[in-house]
């Protein structure tokens, strides 16, 4: 997981120089060696000096430039990633140009002089770049851009720009074969981190299997081997172990959870928050810097690739942990539980904080929150700001999940407080950026405030999180929900319609027998002028309905795009299969007969299966696992698809509502109809779709067509059936938790009662029925069918006695019948009526 860290810490070393003529070579080689030594011992200033000498010898060598940039970067304390990015890009460009110019010249040069193995961490995966150089002479293209590319990707990764990082790294991965082993390993690990951060299950399965094949360390299951290896490694790596490579996967999931709580069940999707990994990274890197000196032993690891077994055990642990993360991502909790146990075994004697964190995440996902808390507390020291902020965030997520929103706020704000103290570490370093999960945490805060009913603060949080999560439809949905909640709470006003329909205001005019009651009809005369921009002067978003509409449009757009993409890439890219098979064979010498054919034919996971299968006895098992992984991917995709459907329903319903509130019935109608056309639409949303469509049609002066939408619910005897039942709610809830239930039956369900909160947001079936009656009554009244209207409105009042709309309709019907006393009695009964001394002055003529 730390691959990225490496980045940070790492200075990449592109090695030195490879001069053509021996004389120069020796000089340059010596210089390069010096530089590498300096770099390793963290004497960056000296390193830069040496490199500059080197530069004079080898003007224009991109590798030298690259190394200078990295060394300078470290010398200056990792400031200004932007500048580094620029330099690296130039180097890359330069290399490409040179490569172009020099044709296919390949140099098989041992880059003896590699410099830097920088203070990477002890963990195996460390500094990829570094390893590159050190690499036991693997052939290298002088103009190879892979290291520069990798470093660029690392920087983007640390800046939380995953899409960017991915776009840089993917081409590298697709052409990974010629790249030297260490760089390739780092690239793969980084890619895996990014993909997991992006919740891309199928691609990460792909990379995972490639890793197993290429660097494959036999299956973890092999107890004996593993334990032996472990022992060995223990000695060697004792120090490295101390690096807590904790990836707090927790956060991620939490956020999802959180999502549940808020009304929509869409929660899952939220899980997006890549936070987890990020966290882990942070810590690590932080430590690297400070401790790298002590890790020297660790550094050797990459070089001494020769010592396969050592490389193996650490990598094995790493891969095992990645596997667990992958399984957690795909919510295959059963398997994840088994794999995490294995990981604990493999990592015995080593730092287990990462495994503990994953275990905590697992328990969290299973709903054993208390156990999760215990694991979290056991997982490491919390003295460092970065780690303690993750710890607090994770606790916040757990309490959120328990339905204790305000308690979770305590932890979230502590977590952000930790971050803020990190941020105060000026000047800004890349590390600071990468350790700063505050943006991710603010998303969690946003969810929590939404659940607590504080839309404005929630929106501020979500807005911060936009810079990380802008690709997630759910984020935009949440922002829109903030607007809607603010509207409901009367914090903002709808543009045209009166915002406060919750009470009927009755004005009393005149005195004695001339006293009259006047009911305000709510036609607003307030003008919404241009000043009603979305933003206040301070650049903070001002919640408004137009803003909600924009957010919903974004979300729909993103959702549609992802659906399109899914369609297009129905088959997971199988580019690498060929290569990978070769790689596997070359690298895993101990693995015999790799049936390449199979590889091609079957999916990526074959690799995994194969790996496991070296123990003959385990062939079967291997096959099983492969199948399960395949299953868990398809299961996960199914879940994602369902979740997207849910999001879409919510989006369309919200959008129709917003358009109605904005008095834009044309658009509202289109949206409501597309909601009704969704396949497998929940009955709840079908109901909303019909009601919204009917209202839009009324506004467009087409009462007949509107009636058609409502009459659907009317049975022959003029009664309305329940438009949806309690079981429809259950459906949403089950979908939320179903994966958990698979794992441990009913207990989960029993444990999450607080989540029911989202029920509140929907009408109860009876209320929905009452609303329908009220609407039917209004419709009949408009069409002049007073008797029918009377029948409906009485039904409505019996179901929703406190609804102002139903009361007003009833009063209207009574007045049309000339029964003013009855109307008055109804006014007095209704609990939303406020009698006011009128401020209106009538003039005599009226």
């Amino acid at each position: 997981m730390d691959s990225r860290d490496s980045l940070s810490s790492t200075p990449l070393n592109r090695d030195g120089p490879s001069g053509d003529d021996d004389g120069v070579l020796s000089v340059t080689a010596a210089l390069a060696k010096d530089a590498a030594l300096y770099f390793q011992s963290k004497k960056f200033a000296e390193c830069v000096e040496v490199l500059n000498q080197l530069k004079q010898k080898k003007e224009d060598d991109p590798k030298v430039l690259h190394n200078i940039a990295i060394a300078e970067y470290f010398r200056d304390g990792c400031l200004d990633p932007k500048k580094l990015l620029e330099v690296l890009k130039n180097v890359k460009k330069r290399s490409e140009e040179l490569a172009h110019a020099s044709g296919e010249q390949v140099e098989c040069f041992g880059n003896v002089g590699n410099k830097g193995i920088p203070g990477s961490k002890g963990s195996v995966g460390l500094s990829h770049q570094i390893s590159t150089n050190s690499g036991s002479t693997i052939y290298m293209d002088e103009f190879d851009t892979s290291v520069a590319t990798l470093n660029i990707a690392v920087i983007w990764f640390h800046l939380h720009e995953y899409a960017k990082a991915l776009s840089v790294l993917e081409p590298l991965y697709q052409n990974i074969e010629p790249i030297d082993e260490a760089t390739a390993l780092h690239a793969c690990l980084l890619l895996l981190d990014i993909l997991l951060a992006c919740n891309d299950a199928s691609k990460s399965a792909d990379v995972l299997s490639y890793l197993e094949k290429a660097f494959g360390v036999g299956s973890v299951c092999q107890g004996d081997n593993a334990s032996m290896a472990t022992q060995q490694s223990t000695n060697l790596f004792a120090k490295s172990a101390s690096v807590p490579s904790s990836s707090l996967a927790m956060d991620v999931s939490n956020s999802d959870l959180a999502a549940n709580a808020s009304e929509n069940p869409l929660s899952r999707t939220l899980s997006e928050d890549p936070l987890d990994e990020m966290f882990s990274t942070l810590d690590i890197s932080g430590q690297n810097l400070s401790r790298s000196a002590s890790h020297s032993s660790a550094k050797d690891a990459p070089r001494t690739l020769v010592d396969r077994s050592i490389f193996g055990v650490d990598l094995k642990l790493k891969l095992q942990l990645y596997k667990v993360r992958f399984l957690l991502l795909t919510r295959n909790l059963k398997l994840a539980k088994r794999e995490v146990k294995l990981a604990m075994n493999v990592g015995r004697g080593r730092d287990s904080s990462m495994a503990l964190l994953l275990k905590a995440q697992l328990e969290y996902a299973r709903g054993n929150h208390r156990k999760a808390i215990k694991l979290l507390m056991a997982s490491g020291n919390r003295t460092e700001a970065g780690i303690s902020s993750m710890f607090n965030n994770n606790l916040g997520c757990i309490y959120y999940q328990l339905g204790k929103y305000h308690a979770s706020a305590v932890f979230f704000s502590k977590a952000l407080g930790n971050c803020s103290s990190l941020q105060k570490d000026k000047p800004l370093k890349l590390l600071t950026f990468s350790q700063d999960k505050s943006l991710l945490m603010t998303y969690n805060c946003g969810l929590q405030y939404l659940a607590c009913g504080k839309p404005i603060l929630a929106a501020r949080c979500f807005q911060k999180a936009v810079s990380v999560f802008y690709k997630r439809p759910l984020l935009w949905l949440r922002l829109a929900e903030c607007c809607l909640m603010a509207l409901e709470k009367g914090l903002i006003k709808a543009s045209g319609a009166p915002s406060d329909r919750s009470e009927v205001r009755v004005n009393i005019i005149g005195k004695g027998k001339w006293r009259q009651l006047i009911i305000e009809d709510g036609v607003s005369s307030g003008l919404v002028g241009k000043d009603d921009l979305n933003f206040g002067s301070d650049g903070q978003p001002k919640l408004s309905l137009p803003l909600a509409r924009q957010c919903l449009c974004n979300a729909l757009h993103l959702l549609n795009c992802s659906e399109l993409n899914n369609l297009k890439s129905g088959l997971p890219a199988s580019l690498e299969e060929n290569e990978s098979s070769e790689v596997v064979s070359s690298k895993n010498s101990n693995q015999r007969n790799l049936p390449t054919i199979d590889l091609n034919a079957s999916t990526l996971f074959v690799g995994l299966g194969q790996v496991n299968s070296n123990g003959d006895a385990k062939v079967q098992k291997g096959g099983l696992i492969q199948e399960t992984i395949q299953n868990s991917i398809s299961y996960y995709e199914e879940i994602c698809g369902r979740e997207n459907q849910m999001i879409k329903q919510a989006l369309l319903a919200d959008l129709a509502y917003v358009e109605l509130e904005l008095e834009n019935p044309l658009k509202a109608l289109t949206v409501a109809i597309s909601l009704l056309e969704l396949p497998d639409c929940s009955r709840i949303y079908v109901f909303l779709g019909h009601v919204y469509a009917a209202e839009a049609l009324c506004l467009l002066n087409k009462p007949k067509e509107a009636a058609e939408h409502l009459l659907i619910y009317l049975s022959a005897d003029n009664n309305v059936e329940l438009p949806f039942g309690q079981e429809d709610f259950e459906q949403w809830r089950v979908e939320n938790t179903d994966d958990c239930e698979e794992v441990n039956g009913g207990s989960v369900a029993a444990k999450n009662p607080p989540e029911n909160q989202h029920d509140f947001m929907f009408l109860k079936p009876e209320e929905a029925c009452g609303t329908l009656y009220a609407n039917l009554a209004a419709m009949s009244a408009i069409q002049g069918e007073l008797e029918r209207a009377h029948h409906f409105v009485m039904q409505a009042l019996s179901l929703v006695p406190n609804s102002p709309e139903a009361t007003m309709t009833a009063i209207y019907v009574d007045l049309m019948h000339g029964k003013s006393q009855e109307a008055l009695a109804k006014l007095k009964q209704c609990s939303h009526v406020r009698f006011l001394l009128s401020s209106l002055q009538l003039n005599k003529s009226s």
Binding site: H406, V466, Y470, C551, K828, V833
Partner: protein
């Protein structure tokens, strides 16, 4: 709706026609104001403008640039509104839309490219297919133009719409890139850029990102701190306690940890805590785990086996609060109870709250805080008062209230069992706040609260209510109409009426008016009381005519008022109005709508009415009224010949008895219906009269029987009690063979009739 549109469009046309330089601004303002009247208004306005423009074009020479400017700005204004799509489509709906038309249209109105795109986008949503394709084409053309010569774009919302529009179909997506490029050249004033993030191209996003990154840690530091500060402000110890459960009050040190999460502990916070513990005094999930792991996570040393509490420990809580905030002003705490979410769900919660208060503070409860004025959280206030009024005095008392009803004189000696009560109903502040609550949507709940005093001390309640005036007087009137009849019947009622008269004449009069509509006995009793209090003439003057006429008639029976003179005086004074009221009254009698025995009484006064009315026709200006009067008189005379002689008929014809006989007969009925005379006594009396040798008594008997049968047709309108009495009497008369022959036939027919009707009709009760 039709009305609105025709009126509005007429008005708009007028405005445009009368437009000149001087009023251009005001017309423009007025037009944009119309656009605020929902979509209907907007559509009409735009349509009218459009029509006007077309008309105008016909006489191109006369084109008035002012008109164009005004219409253009109106359209622009409509375009800016969030519902521009519907409004534009609907108002352009009738026009023949073509690209030429749009081109022309925007030229005339001098629309900018961005505005033109807005129109095009709006048309894309039209229901009309042609308009849709045309809008699309128009849009694409304008976007191309925009790309070619970058111009400013109004808002990010427009940009978003454009991008989404371009991206949604394959053939347009080629424009996306050039549009994005254009965007990087254009500066938009708006700050809402973050909304665009997901749809920008990667390059643009990267530039933005890098630009922001520098700013990020410079400004964002502060920004984050601002959010953090906000978060700390929003942290609510109350909700945290609720979530963590009773464990928070396990002992002072733990309680302190929790309460210290948001210091300082203000009175507001304390009020919220008290409110919260009151409504969660039981039923929170008993899970000490949650609390212990919470405090463990916070880094407090907590042994994991804390005792399990089943409710809040008030002692610990209050002690902790006193330690953390020793200077707390408890009166202010109570004043802060008016907060969102405060609600007392039941009696146990109330007593828990009160015991917490007593524990914290020895002073009497500050009544002004709960019934001094209406809270914002009316529901919470109501829930508190509901239990406060019912509490025994040791839990809650109103005895120290500043404004109490001074009732001793008015209700002297009257049973007021207030000794063991908390004197709630003497507290005028309480009554006032209840009246206000009733008028702010809680009428039903407040009436439920009043059930107890209505049963146990109705008079006190009414007298107290009389002191309260609110905008609608909803509750006061309700109480009056329930209690006043009781007082009227009460032998010592006069004292209370006097008190009411002094305190709140309006309320009393309103109650009386309502009473006057009911039984005659009440009217008689009212007359007596008014006489006793010497307020009869004032009352007659002050109440509305329909009631005062009735009151005057009854009073004239007792010779307390000279009906003829009274009628004359009022006719002089009020002329047509009074004349009309008299006619209404007479009509009412004639159609038999007066439901009780007094109808008969009134019947007999009609002669006086006609006499006076006829005499005074000179005062009346409306001939219509006079004609009506004459017509009415004719019908009444026809149906009731005994009135023909101007009301002096003394003949004892079969269907008319002497007034005195009639009056006496009626008085017996009254006695019977008011319970002063039992039915048995009545039957015996009737039997005696029947056999009596005195002619007058025989007449009375006949008159009563006739009246009884005549009343038969009004039985369905009788109140239940009277109906039962009448039914028994009816039966007894038959049983005791007081009726024979012809009259027996009538009686039996009545009974048979009743049987034939559906079983639930009221008349069945007779049998």
């Amino acid at each position: 709706m039709l009305n609105l549109s025709s009126t509005l469009s007429g008005h708009v046309r007028f405005l445009l026609q009368s437009l000149n330089e001087a009023n251009a601004d005001s017309v423009r303002r007025e037009l944009s104001q119309f656009l605020g009247f929902g979509i209907e208004g907007s559509i009409v306005v735009l349509q009218t403008c459009l029509d006007y423009l077309n008309l105008d074009k016909a006489e191109a020479d006369l084109k008035n640039s002012q008109v164009e400017a005004v219409i253009a700005s109106t359209f622009r204004y409509a375009l800016e509104k969030p519902n521009s799509c519907t409004v534009l489509c609907q108002s352009l709906g009738s026009a023949d839309i073509s690209e030429d038309f749009l081109e022309n249209f925007s030229k005339v109105l001098h629309l900018s490219v961005s505005e033109k795109i807005g129109i095009g986008l709006a048309l894309c949503e039209s229901e009309n297919l042609e308009a849709r394709t045309c809008g699309k084409k128009f849009c694409v053309a304008q976007i191309e133009e925009l790309n070619a010569s970058p111009d400013s774009v109004d808002s990010y919302e427009r940009i978003q719409n454009i991008i989404l529009f371009l991206q949604c179909s394959e053939d347009l997506s080629k424009h996306v890139d050039s549009f994005m490029q254009m965007l990087s050249l254009v500066q938009v004033k708006d700050v809402a850029q973050f909304v665009l993030t997901p749809i920008l191209s990667d390059e643009l996003r990267e530039t933005n990102f890098l630009r922001d990154m520098d700013l990020f840690h410079e400004s964002a530091g502060n920004d984050f701190d601002a959010i953090l500060a906000e978060m700390e402000k929003e942290m609510s110890v109350v909700d945290i306690m609720r979530e963590l459960g009773y464990g928070c009050t396990v002992d002072v040190s733990h309680c302190k940890e929790i309460l210290s999460l948001c210091l300082p502990l203000t009175e507001m916070t304390i009020a919220r805590i008290l409110g919260m513990i009151a409504c969660t005094h039981s039923g929170l999930e008993e899970n000490s785990n949650i609390f212990s792991s919470f405090s463990m996570a916070l880094g407090c040393n907590t042994s994991s086996d804390l005792p399990l509490l089943s409710s809040w420990n008030i002692d610990v809580l209050i002690r902790t609060i006193k330690q953390l905030a020793p200077a707390t002003d408890w009166v202010r705490v109570v004043e802060n109870l008016d907060h969102e979410g405060f609600y007392i769900p039941n009696e146990a919660a109330f007593s828990l709250f009160m015991s917490a208060y007593r524990y914290a503070c020895q002073e009497p409860f500050p009544l002004h805080a709960i019934c001094g004025s209406l809270w914002n959280n009316t529901e919470g206030q109501l829930s508190f008062l509901k239990y406060a009024v019912l509490s025994p005095p040791e839990v809650f008392t109103f005895v120290h209230s500043g404004r109490q009803l001074v009732y001793i004189d008015a209700v002297h000696g009257h049973k007021l069992q207030l000794e063991d009560a908390n004197l709630a109903w003497l507290c005028l502040d309480l009554l006032e706040v209840l009246c206000k609550l009733a008028e702010s949507g809680h009428a039903r709940a407040v009436k439920l609260m009043l059930e107890y005093p209505l049963k146990h001390c109705p008079e006190v309640l009414l007298l107290g209510m009389a002191h309260v005036n609110t905008s609608y007087n909803l509750l006061q009137h309700d109480v009056t109409s329930i209690v006043l009849p009781m007082i009227i019947k009460n032998s010592v009622g006069a004292g209370m009426i006097l008190y009411l008269w002094q305190v709140n004449q309006n309320l009393l009069l309103r109650g009386l008016v309502e009473l006057l509509k009911s039984e005659q006995d009440n009217i008689t009793r009212i007359v007596e009381i008014c006489l006793e209090l010497k307020i009869l003439s004032t009352v007659l003057e002050m109440i509305p005519f329909p009631s005062s006429i009735r009151l005057a008639i009854i009073a004239s029976r007792k010779e307390l008022v000279d009906l003829e003179k009274w009628l004359n005086d009022n006719l002089y004074m009020y002329k047509d109005i009074f004349f009309e009221e008299c006619l209404k009254f007479l009509k009412g009698i004639q159609s038999g709508r007066s439901q009780d025995f007094s109808a008969k009484l009134f019947h007999h006064s009609s002669a006086v009415f006609f006499k006076v009315l006829k005499d005074q026709t000179g005062l009346i200006s409306s001939t219509q009224l006079i004609e009506e009067m004459e017509k009415l008189q004719a019908t009444i005379m026809d149906s009731n010949p005994k009135l023909q002689n101007g009301g002096t008929t003394e003949s004892s014809s079969s269907d008319g008895y002497g007034d005195d006989i009639e009056a006496e007969a009626n008085s017996y009925f009254h006695q019977m219906f008011s319970g002063q005379l039992t039915i048995d006594a009545m039957v015996q009396m009737l039997a005696r009269f029947k056999e009596s040798s005195v002619k007058r008594e025989q007449l009375i008997f006949e008159c009563m029987i006739a009246n009884l049968f005549e009343e038969y047709r009004f039985f369905p309108k009788y109140p239940d009690r009277q109906l039962k009495i009448a039914a028994v009497l009816f039966g007894s008369v038959i049983k005791h063979q007081l009726v024979t022959h012809l009259t027996l036939g009538i009686a039996l027919r009545g009974v048979l009739d009743a049987l034939r009707k559906p079983a639930d009709s009221k008349v069945c009760i007779i049998i």
